[in-house]
Symmetry: C2
Subunit: 378 residues, 2 copies
């Protein structure tokens, strides 16, 4: 029968991290609970939505937590409700004691709150990843890669494999990550500082976004483990499991063009703001596109909505090279692509009005390329 | 045909204030537009939802606005869309010029955006308040009164008059404001610094909340004007019109008890937090109540939800006086009441378990009283 006392703020922080995996309206009712497991080393908190599982461990060694364990055990408590109750407690310390019939008594200051829980045995077994030979990754690097690619994954379930990001390690050191929804594509390559076993997996983009939210920048590195259909990101206190997508990711290498007819260099922020203006009006047009005109060294953007009005704008450019061109595309794809570019300058290269164009940061050494498919307007 | 240039930030600020009156989904389509009227003195912006109307005036005298008027006129523009477009413009200055067929050309930096508008004559005539003999009120005082009363008004349309706040001026100086939804009541009285004509009106609580959002604390005083079914709050730049509620407000004076059997003084914040804890569990009970027990100088709160759990808590009190008592009520009403009390201490006085109890700030000279009706639990 569980009995421990703990610093309230530390406990709430750990509960909130774990809760990120918990969906309030899960088809499996027991997954709306949080699992609390207390042993002599500390407290393990587990939350899951069946796709993602998060385990957060609070150690008795952690001085900030002020964790005193009098008795061990495990129990399930309704996650949202439990966190609300803990957050409302008056004192900076709380005491949690399991009493009869899977009930817990929370004591803090003069407040005594009894909550009904469930048998821990009702919780499903979710994680099956063998923890040997981890790949070591910098958290910040991994979060940058996620920001640069995950947005380009599909949000539609018609081709489930495209809702993920393709992570491939070759030569034990070259990591390639790609996402595409078939209208645009984003690919990032990096050389890892440390060798690892080669792998080829497709990680749900939703899981990657949760990863970025769960692992704060203070956590410098994570260990990465793979199994057949799951992977695990692990830091000192947090284990983040996600299912992998099954199936073969399409060959995207052959999509990337290498020769171009027109190249323009823009200030990234300026171009983004111009596209945001254009989008206000293109949203009210039939095909939702903006027209880019490159003529005699002048680059301009145009939208004409018969109902709402029109935009005509000469764009600030840093350099232009090659043939004149008129091309139409969905400005949202370009805005998303520009948001992913960390560099202040971006180079956009075109082949023709009907072939995808590429975006790369205008900087040496960054192996980051994006592709956007234009829209034929006549 | 309108033509002016203006500082973008000042223009957006005025547009956003005016937009507060505009409902996106109005049954009268023309009310989703903003009316722009330009004369030689400045620009008038008008927005309305039929209940509330806001006019914001930007003067050519206002140096910050940098307003240069080349040509006067008036037009209607789709409010949300127009504000989004103006906000997206690249330069700190924008030029707005009416061109043929009720279209306006916005120019800012190298960006040119044309928007379709409508004839100003299509806009309904909404405001009819004769602007003579204003009552002068401090904005901060009026906002305090609103915070202290408007929350207690009804949100249900079954008795429309109760959705308003009753404002009565007697003896040219005594202002009484009351709101009630028949479960709780809040009454604030003040002596005005300056005399005014007596009045007796019921102002929609929703209008009062908008008033508090529109008039910033920098606006020290407002002039108040009344007509039959409308009133106007006016500052130097903003005219805020609201319809009044028709009908007779119930006599609330007779509801306020004067003799009590039990009185307890609490720390306002402590009691509020205890009630917030209690509410987490009372929400899961059948009648949604918390039970307060006053016995032998000890005050405690109790909730028992057979499904979720229970709360038992001894409350910190500053003083207790009179007979022992057990009383049940909806904690939300007490939480709302405590939020409205600016004072650090609050005095709660009871007659019996079935009679309304009163809350007053535990301070001299504040004429602020609230009433909450208990719930019979057996």
């Amino acid at each position: 029968m569980i009995h421990f006392s703990i610093n309230k703020a530390i406990f709430i922080q750990a509960l909130n991290t774990t809760k990120r995996a918990i969906s309030h309206k899960n088809a499996i009712p027991v997954l709306s609970t949080i699992k609390i497991e207390v042993n002599n080393e500390g407290i393990g908190l587990t939350g899951s939505n069946g796709q993602i599982s998060i385990e957060h461990f609070i150690s008795v060694q952690d001085d900030n937590a002020g964790l005193l364990i009098s008795s061990t055990g495990s129990i399930l408590l309704e996650a949202s409700f439990f966190i609300n109750v803990v957050s409302s407690l008056p004192d900076i310390v709380l005491d949690l004691k399991e009493i009869e019939q899977k009930q817990v008594l929370l004591t803090s200051g003069k407040s005594e709150i009894t909550l009904k829980g469930k048998e821990a045995e009702l919780y499903p077994r979710l994680q099956e990843v063998v923890k040997t030979k981890p790949l070591l990754l910098e958290t910040k690097l991994l979060k940058d890669i996620i920001n640069e690619t995950a947005f380009a994954a599909s949000t539609q379930e018609s081709r489930p494999i495209l809702t993920g990001v393709h992570f491939v390690l070759t030569d034990n050191q070259t990591l390639k990550t790609v996402a595409t929804d078939s209208h645009r594509m984003s690919q990032r390559k990096i050389q890892l500082a440390k060798d690892g076993d080669n792998f080829d997996v497709v990680i749900p983009s939703r899981s990657l976004r949760e990863f970025a939210a769960v692992f704060s920048d203070e956590i410098e590195t994570v260990e990465v483990f793979f199994s057949n259909n799951q992977m695990l990101f692990r830091s000192q206190h947090i284990s983040f499991y996600t299912r992998l997508l099954e199936g073969t990711y399409p060959d995207t290498d052959r999509l990337i063009p290498t020769t171009f007819n027109t190249t323009v260099t823009f200030d990234t922020a300026n171009l983004r703001h111009a596209m945001e203006r254009a989008r206000l009006l293109s949203n009210a047009t039939q095909n939702g596109t903006v027209k880019l005109e490159i003529q005699k060294g002048i680059v301009s953007a145009h939208v004409h909505s018969p109902e709402v009005g029109k935009v005509n704008e000469e764009l600030d450019i840093l350099a232009v090279d090659g043939e004149d061109l008129i091309i139409s595309f969905n400005p949202t794809y370009l805005i998303d692509a520009l948001k992913a570019v960390g560099n202040e300058q971006v180079k956009i290269s075109f082949i023709s009005p009907i072939r995808p164009f590429t975006l790369v940061p205008n900087a040496e050494g960054e192996d980051f390329i994006q592709l956007i498919t234009p829209v034929r307007t006549n």
